[in-house]
């Protein structure tokens, strides 16, 4: 408040623009964090802990945050689950698979500044004590690791079964820590599935799952990992009429690549234009043209990328459906243009 009043001295700048000359974390208008540690995990992954500045709020186990970094001078945002337990300073565990993750894994140093958005997400522990089943694969273990770290050491009544798939033992994230936790606490049972030797869990019948966790149907279940795992598990829980007991966290969405779609995109308020092919989303096309596109998860979940359609037709790249109603709110992160499209952004 006092700061807003002080803006008569600094207009049209905000006083924070000047305070930031001294302390880069002082701005609540662009939340930032300073990296406090970078810990290598198994091959191609690191855990990055950071101290957030003003505007952050404590995370709950299982939530994620949007992390922004600058690569070649361009700000790039991605979502990462917070792997640290609730109540502690946040940390993310990143596996290098593409542009941003590789940058985070290879170039992050202690003292670097990350751009942040506050924690969000409803992939959360149940409110009351319940037996739990965690089904994870690859980097999908990160939100679950936060849940286990939060719950298991603190709750003697915890009853958690973790089934984690990784290609080989060397690829299994947090393997040593999980072994220690399981040894120290009766409430945690860990089963690893090494897909290079044992193959993937077979979801065509319940046999595999029955063998790994006989009472899976009565547990509150969490699944996080590659899209096929999520789809297979959802189908299984659905078929056994326990779909409500399953919570799903998606890291990626399979999008169509449609050679037929594509076209010119006009970003009206920003006074910019782009040409996008059938597999480029409106979000990516806008960002590449320098438009400040609103976004969150970048994969069709959070709806923070909604932008009104002014004219034209767009295609939902998850389903192939088209939309052409003027004024309709479009999820730009999963939509591509079909012909010329005008967006109100």
């Amino acid at each position: 408040m006092a700061l807003s009043a002080a803006s008569v001295f600094t207009a049209p700048r905000h006083p924070q623009d000047f305070l930031q000359l001294v302390n880069p974390l002082s701005s609540a208008r662009q939340l930032r964090g300073v990296v406090t540690s970078v810990t290598p995990e198994c091959s191609g992954s690191v855990t990055i802990a950071f101290r957030p500045g003003r505007g952050w709020h404590a995370h709950e186990a299982g939530q994620y945050a949007r992390i922004g970094v600058e690569i070649d001078g361009v700000r790039q945002w991605r979502s990462y689950s917070l792997s640290a337990p609730a109540g502690q300073d946040p940390a993310i565990t990143v596996t290098a698979v593409g542009r941003v993750s590789r940058h985070l894994v290879e170039s992050t140093r202690v003292g670097d500044v990350l751009f942040l958005a506050p924690p969000q997400g409803d992939f959360l522990l149940p409110t009351g004590p319940r037996p739990l089943l965690m089904l994870t694969a690859g980097s999908g273990i990160t939100p679950v690791m936060s849940m286990i770290r939060t719950l298991v050491p603190r709750r003697p009544d915890a009853d958690v079964v973790l089934i984690h798939s990784a290609r080989t033992p060397q690829d299994a994230l947090f393997r040593a820590e999980l072994a220690t936790l399981a040894a120290d606490h009766d409430g945690l049972h860990v089963a690893h599935r090494y897909t290079a030797t044992d193959g993937r869990i077979d979801f065509t019948s319940p046999a595999d799952l029955d063998a790994l966790c006989p009472d899976w149907r009565s547990r509150k279940a969490y699944v996080c990992g590659p899209a096929e795992l999520l789809d297979d598990a959802s189908q299984m829980w659905h078929d056994h009429h326990v779909a409500d007991a399953l919570s799903v966290e998606r890291f990626e969405t399979a999008l169509l690549t449609d050679a037929g779609a594509g076209g010119r995109v006009v970003f009206e308020k920003s006074d910019k234009e782009a040409v996008a092919d059938g597999s480029t989303t409106l979000l990516e096309a806008g960002e590449d043209a320098g438009v400040l596109m609103p976004h969150g998860c970048r994969m069709g979940i959070c709806r923070s990328c909604l932008v009104p359609l002014r004219a034209g037709q767009i295609k939902d790249l998850r389903t192939g459906e088209t939309h052409a109603d003027e004024g309709e709110l479009i999820q730009t992160c999963i939509s591509a243009p079909c012909g010329t499209v005008h967006l109100d952004v």
């Binding site: 008569v8 049209p12 070649d72 001078g73 700000r75 308020k269 920003s270 910019k272 320098g290």
Partner: protein
């Protein structure tokens, strides 16, 4: 290019359609090479300039609190003037052009930027980016050409009021930021009854609020704060001087962009069916550069590279210097004028034109006119290079 053909010479008569399109492709390639290589060091550049400007502003304003003491007054006033110049030119003008939008930093973005100037960002962006840069030097379309109050081309009809234009121009220079605000508001169009009343009212409210905000800062709260140190009067004077200095400087730089002798103008019909190559050609012929030191270039917001800026208004300003030799080389090969000169020379040339054209053409013609329109021989024109092989 009919506007040019009426002139005593036509600087593009020797170009074939093929030459013009080839010129367009070459310039597209220059642009692409910069877009391709934009990166970390460019981002660091603009952040450094912004940080320098803010530190300078803060330091100068702090110093002015002690302006009872004369050296503090002098240094603080100079610092504040330089800071305001940087803020308007190298930062404000260029950020609002979208030169830094590619960084996707919401704090250095054309859609969020507001500047320390009487004209609100959105009005300025409309009249400058959309009208002036699209219709550069097109008579009757580009209002920047004489700002609607002056005659800066023989093809503009003379009227006795133009006799006073050297005076208007000086007054406009002193109050340039308000001149820009009035101009972005399209005051002239409004009084001629050609601007929608509701739109005008909305825009006018914005301008009044913006002027109030900036004037409150410079002329009320900072002097009031300086009351505590007995430096109020000097602080007020310093703010006034800084604004005046900034106004005179920006006015001079902007005059040099399109008014010096040798810069071409175009008729309304000449831009019908303009191709990308034609457009580039018009931007090049309609602009003039200023030669000088690196500090001078930065102080002009790199508008001293007006030709490069008009060709590529949204490329980062720190890169114009590096493409200028390429553009110049292109002009030589295609036999096109590349108008440039030192700051004093270009300012004098622009003023000379303002004074000369305050008179009707037949009187103006009697004044000795600086001859800057020497025909340039093309050194490597694509259409001529091809001929021997075609034969």
């Amino acid at each position: 290019m009919t506007a040019l053909q009426k002139k005593d010479h036509n600087p593009v008569a020797h170009l074939t359609r093929e030459d013009i399109e080839s010129l367009g492709r070459e310039l597209d390639a220059v642009r692409a090479s910069v877009v391709e290589s934009r990166g970390t060091s460019d981002a660091a550049y603009i952040r450094r300039v912004i940080k320098t400007q803010r530190t300078l502003e803060l330091g100068s304003r702090a110093l002015l609190l002690a302006s009872r003491w004369k050296p503090a007054f002098v240094v603080g006033t100079i610092g504040l003037t330089v800071s305001k110049v940087l803020e308007n030119m190298e930062i404000g003008h260029n950020v609002m052009h979208g030169q830094w939008d590619w960084m996707r930093d919401p704090k250095i973005h054309s859609t969020t930027w507001e500047w320390d100037n009487a004209s609100p960002a959105d009005l300025w962006k409309h009249s400058h980016n959309e009208l002036h840069h699209t219709y550069t030097n097109v008579l009757g379309r580009d209002n920047d050409l004489g700002y609607g109050i002056m005659r800066v081309d023989e093809d503009q009809k003379w009227h006795p009021v133009y006799l006073g234009q050297p005076v208007w121009n000086f007054v406009n220079a002193c109050f340039f930021e308000y001149g820009i605000a009035a101009y972005d508001l399209e005051l002239g169009k409004y009084f001629a009854g050609r601007k929608d009343k509701a739109v005008f009212k909305r825009d006018a409210t914005k301008v009044v609020n913006k002027i109030r905000q900036q004037a409150t800062k410079d002329y009320v709260v900072h002097p009031a704060l300086a009351l505590l140190t007995g430096s109020a009067r000097r602080t007020l004077l310093a703010n006034y001087t800084a604004n005046l200095g900034r106004n005179l400087w920006t006015h001079s730089v902007i005059m040099c962009g399109h008014f010096p002798e040798g810069v071409e103008t175009f008729t309304k019909t000449s831009i019908d069916g303009e191709t990308r190559g034609d457009w580039y050609l018009r931007q090049m012929l309609g602009s003039a550069n200023i030669r000088g030191t690196k500090a001078m270039h930065i102080a002009t917001g790199n508008l001293s590279y007006q030709i490069e800026h008009h060709l590529f208004p949204d490329l980062p300003s720190n890169r114009y210097a590096e493409i200028a030799p390429q553009v110049r080389d292109l002009c030589e090969r295609y036999g096109l004028p590349y108008v440039t000169g030192s700051l004093p020379r270009q300012v004098a040339s622009a003023w000379g034109k303002v004074i000369r054209l305050s008179l009707p053409n037949h009187l103006a013609a009697r004044l000795k006119r600086p001859t800057r329109r020497t025909q340039v021989e093309p050194t490597a024109l694509p259409s001529r290079l091809r001929e021997p092989t075609a034969a």
